[in-house]
């Protein structure tokens, strides 16, 4: 804050000479900001990133941004989304807020009144994935789209004579799992599924992602039936939960027993990449590079009821602009970030899937083709699981774990789930 005077001069100077026009524009902008009571940090704007795995690519993005526009962007990375949320609170108390930071959808209310409305910005016309809040308007810039469903190894399914497009009912799954299980030796797989319900480290996977299928599978992206029911004091749809429980039971039955109760994320993903499992219960983030796998990947829906044919797809988290920060420069950055050169880095180098319609780059992610086919066909559901009450995943993941261990059966899984959720919301 104290360095604002010298930093203002430095920003345009760093622009180089390749485009004097933008440098000039930047200079004008900077002097405007300087007069606006020190809201501009002289060192440019700061972005708090919650994805450590793309830190180096974002640094590269910041460099390119500076070269192309003259603005300075400083990327700070904090591991994991929940710890970014925690870090942000410390930053807020220390009066050290970044101009742009990452939030998950359910964290918007915590920041009520403090996030800039980005409505009307150029990029908002190019995507349907922005985060809209009832009181603050368009607040979230989607920087990636992620999908979760049952990831499959297309080569194995092919060899077993299973057409993944037929997997839209529990019956079809039961048959497919049985076929695969019978042909395990022939297909060279260890188990049909790589599904892990270990709660201490993988609770986010079962408690948030797999649980999210109960909330959203088969629904249109803007359908909030079951999340609304859940957030209304922790209510659960009994019939739907029962079918969900049956399906999870099927998954428990055919998952690798070595992995199911005590496994780790690394073990799970490594097993899938090595071709040991035909299915994996993760999302497109688990295999990011085509070099990781020697087979074709795809997604199949969690069809725990007849006719469910959607995968969950959308931005799991968003970038937002802090309203007391340098909003103008943040908006500038978002517009640039939705453009070609930025998308080139985000898609081709960081391996993200672009949320923008006009993005000409095909994501390198092995799951991309399958994801795109669902999105194009409108067969995708929302990430409403991110709107559940904070910390609920740590309660539900334990129920998944007990079910996997055989302490519960399908009926008691459904009733226990209903009870723990209800009691979590009540207290």
């Amino acid at each position: 804050m104290s360095l604002s005077a010298c930093g203002q001069a430095a920003a345009p100077a760093a622009a180089g000479s390749d485009s004097s026009e933008t440098a000039e524009a930047a200079e004008e902008k900077s002097s405007e900001e300087a007069s606006a009571e020190g809201t501009a940090t002289g060192d440019g704007i700061r972005l708090l990133n919650g994805k450590p795995e793309i830190d180096s690519q974002l640094q590269e993005l910041a460099k390119l941004y500076n070269e192309e526009t003259g603005y300075v962007l400083n990327v700070e990375t904090i591991g994991g989304d929940s710890s970014a949320a925690d870090e942000l609170k410390k930053m807020y108390q220390a009066d050290n807020m970044p101009d742009i930071f990452v939030i998950e959808a359910n964290q918007a209310d915590t920041w009520d009144g403090m996030l800039a409305d980005l409505a009307g910005e150029e990029w908002t016309d190019k995507t349907g994935f922005e985060l809209v809040n009832s009181s603050m308007g368009t607040i979230g810039f989607p920087y990636t789209v992620e999908a979760t469903a049952l990831g499959y190894n297309a080569d194995v399914l092919n060899a077993a004579g299973i057409d993944p497009s037929t997997l839209t009912s529990p019956g079809a799954y039961a048959d497919a799992f049985k076929t695969l299980d019978d042909k395990k030796g022939e297909l060279g797989i260890t188990a049909v599924l790589g599904w892990c319900a270990e709660p201490a480290n993988l609770g986010w996977s079962s408690g948030t992602h797999v649980f999210g299928q109960y909330l959203d599978a088969g629904l249109k992206a803007d359908d909030t039936t079951y999340i609304d029911l859940l957030n209304d004091g922790g209510k659960v749809d009994e019939a739907r939960m029962k079918s969900f429980a049956e399906f999870i039971g099927l998954m428990n039955q055919y998952s690798d027993p070595e992995l199911l109760v005590d496994g780790t994320y690394d073990q799970q993903v490594a097993g899938f990449k090595e071709g040991k499992y035909a299915f994996i219960t993760q999302g497109n983030w688990c295999v990011t590079s085509p070099d990781d796998v020697s087979f074709e990947c795809g997604f199949a829906p969690y069809a725990f009821e007849d006719g469910i044919d959607t995968i969950i797809a959308g931005p799991p988290s968003y970038w937002v602009a802090y309203s007391e920060g340098n909003v103008d420069e943040a908006k500038e950055f978002f517009n640039w970030c939705a453009g070609k050169s930025a998308q080139d880095i985000l898609v081709n180098k960081a391996g993200l899937v672009s949320p923008f319609d006009d993005c000409e780059f095909e994501a390198v992610n092995p799951f991309y083709k399958s994801m795109k086919s669902y999105i194009d066909a409108g067969k995708y559901s929302g990430w409403h699981t991110m709107l559940k009450k904070d910390g609920l995943q740590n309660v539900t993941c334990q129920v998944f774990a007990d079910y996997a261990q055989g302490k519960l059966d399908a009926a008691s899984f459904a009733s226990t789930m209903a009870q723990v959720i209800q009691s979590y919301y009540a207290n």
């Binding site: 929940s82 949320a85 201490a200 609770g203 109760v261 005590d262 904070d390 910390g391 009691s423």
Partner: protein, 355 residues
């Protein structure tokens, strides 16, 4: 006051007043966020001026007291900033609906009432007491036996002392992950081969609790052992010699001479194990993260079977985003610890005198 010159009085009062004004101005602008870049310097110079004025204050009677205060100030200031102010603020936050960012209103005792309605929290208190109970006994027992071993005449004493102490130098989080691997990958190999236990002992509440106790003893016994070794070494040789001349056996020496003479050490060690076991957090977080189910506790299915108090407070605040409720739990935690510590020290002191 007659022996002080007018000049000294002027300098003293002048610096006191200017110092105070500078500090108040600096603090004021910092709180009002007016972007005053010199506020740090203002506060610092103000503080120096204030203390100079205080030192030169024209009094003989209180001069010594003033000097004492000036010398104590750095310590008191640090203590206030790091302990007293956070404590007061924390207690204050527990009566609000603070979410880590803003306070929207005061809620009185709501948080305190709410936390006792959470069966999971009651469970956390219970297993924390259980954990403390097991640990005080087991850590001290194991540490004392190790200390006896390390003060005997076996070969390679240095190696044993270092080896037993080493786990204490590894951070709890790292330790937790190391043992997680041991419990879920190594031990299951044996349990599945010899008995029909396919799953890790961490996947069941009871055995996971035992797991945490084991890791904690492994980590902490070496440290307590060092204190016992020091205690054993301070027992005067002549007393031991006299007893052996009188024909005392090893067991008699141990129970009638060594242990009574170690009473102060035992006090210190039980006190250390008590408070540190109460505050158990890192191993708990890394090893089980509080997971484990309890089928029926107060009519509820619990999902935080191994979650001890400190971890429960952390999850409430940070994971569940209920900072004020977490503060209320932390205040209760503070009260429990304070009471237990005071009682324990009182009892031990009394016993020492009797022995």
């Amino acid at each position: 006051m007659g022996e002080f010159t007018a000049g000294r009085k002027a300098v003293s009062f002048g610096s006191l007043i200017i110092g105070l004004i500078l500090m108040i101005y600096g603090l004021g602008t910092a709180i009002a966020k007016t972007g005053n870049n010199l506020r740090g310097a203002e506060i610092l110079i103000g503080a120096v001026l204030f203390f100079a004025g205080l030192y030169l204050f024209p009094t003989l009677k209180y001069h010594r007291t003033i000097v004492n205060i000036i010398f104590l100030f750095p310590l008191l200031f640090a203590f206030a900033v790091t302990v007293i102010i956070p404590l007061v603020l924390g207690i204050g936050y527990s009566f609000t609906d603070w979410d880590g960012i803003r306070i929207k209103g005061f809620v009185g005792f709501d948080n305190y009432i709410r936390m006792f309605k959470q069966p999971g929290f009651i469970w956390s208190i219970l297993i924390t007491f259980l954990f403390v109970f097991f640990n005080i006994i087991l850590v001290n027992l194991v540490a004392f036996l190790l200390a006896l071993l390390c003060t005997s005449r076996i070969k390679g004493l240095g190696f044993f002392r270092a080896a037993y102490f080493l786990p204490n130098l590894i951070g709890g989080i790292v330790l937790g992950y190391i043992w997680q691997f041991i419990f879920s990958s190594v031990i299951t190999k044996f349990t599945s081969a010899f008995w029909d236990m396919r799953y890790s002992m961490l996947s069941d509440t009871k055995t996971a609790f035992v797991g945490i106790v084991i890791v904690y003893i492994w980590q902490y016994a070496g440290y307590i052992m060092l204190i016992y070794i020091t205690g054993l070494n301070t027992i005067p040789e002549d007393v031991l010699e006299a007893s052996s001349i009188d024909g005392a056996g090893a067991a008699q020496t141990l129970f009638n001479i060594k242990i009574p003479m170690l009473a102060p050490t035992i006090t210190i060690c039980t006190f250390l194990t008590l408070t540190s076991a109460f505050k158990q957090f890192d191993v708990n977080l890394a090893l089980t993260n509080g997971t484990g189910s309890v089928a029926d506790f107060m009519g509820n299915y619990l999902t935080n079977g191994t979650e001890m108090l400190a971890l429960n407070i952390y999850s409430t605040a940070v994971i569940n985003n209920e900072y004020a409720l977490g503060e209320a739990k932390a205040v209760l935690f503070f009260i429990i610890l304070a009471i237990v510590s005071i009682v324990q020290v009182r009892i031990s002191n009394k016993r020492e005198v009797e022995m």
